[in-house]
Symmetry: C2
Subunit: 188 residues, 2 copies
């Protein structure tokens, strides 16, 4: 499971509570591996049982005790091994492509509306990714430049993928508006 390894990665920087990890996940890997709070707590429990993490429980009334998780040597070895392990092809599920596949059942106008909706989604994603370098300008400035490069590489990928999808959608929408049935990539 990959969430486990993302958590190991984050804890390899410093010990944290589940609450902190949730925030870090949202700021870092959530673009390509989202996780809700309950999933993180459950995963932490399993990882501790597996000996990848240790917990230090720090009481603090009246709040629930802080449970600070730290990575163990076993956990560090597991992280290192996983980081080098070739990952199988990612399965991507795109409901809107099912809609396109069966679009013969609806009118061109309705197909265009559907594609425009996806285009808006990609444009918002694009803006989000473009904003990240500025948002992180200060918080990241003290970090190791090589590490920072790999972080930014994941942002760059998001940018590239949102751009590619937006362009494809724009081309298809333009064709359909002209009443043409052109395949943008195959009919280069």
């Amino acid at each position: 499971m990959s969430l486990e390894h993302a958590v190991l990665g984050l804890l390899s920087y410093e010990p944290m509570t589940g609450y902190d990890i949730k925030k870090m996940v949202d700021l870092s890997v959530s673009h390509f591996w989202p996780a809700v709070q309950s999933q993180i707590y459950k995963t932490l429990g399993r990882m501790e049982a597996d000996g990848w993490l240790t917990v230090e429980t720090i009481p603090q009334e009246p709040r629930p005790p802080r449970k600070v998780y730290a990575i163990t040597e076993t956990g560090r070895a597991e992280l290192l091994a996983w980081l080098e392990a070739p990952q199988p092809p990612s399965e991507v599920r795109l409901a809107w492509l099912i809609q396109v596949f069966f679009a013969g059942r609806i009118s061109d106008e309705k197909v265009i509306t559907l594609l425009e909706h996806q285009l808006n989604i990609q444009r918002r994603r694009l803006q989000g990714f473009r904003a990240i370098p500025d948002e992180n300008r200060e918080s990241m400035s003290e970090d190791d430049p090589r590490e920072r490069f790999f972080w930014m590489l994941t942002v760059d990928y998001g940018l590239a993928s949102a751009m590619a999808q937006a362009r494809w959608l724009e081309t298809v929408i333009a064709s359909l508006r002209k009443g043409e049935y052109r395949l943008p990539t195959i009919e280069s």
Copy 2:
């Protein structure tokens, strides 16, 4: 759930058994919505309970009886409504990007190996998508051209996405080989 609607879409062409549907799914929507056999049978059961499908059980000894599913009016209405419904942003989970995010922990050579593995995956996908038009040349020739266009559009999307990912990976690998830390998209 989208598998349900993919199944409705397939059954909107003609009644089929679960076995047939599995084969059709593999040939059509599996590129963007894969499904294993057990999942299809479970889904068919639920859809029948919901009144979207009817079953006709045709005994045939000694094989298990053929259960031929047909779409109902309710099912057809559900399909039509869903085909027009804007879909929320698809959540994509890419484990290899978690590896990139934490690649600061491993050497450049190991990162390159990891990226080359992903590049190979995309190249194989590319070849697969390129082969589809030839494979389907005869089987699809009698179908409605508008319908065929939308089918091919999903193939075209697969092609475009595999190409975009392959190009991005090639650029990153080339940079890393030169010892450069360049972001292909941001540093245009």
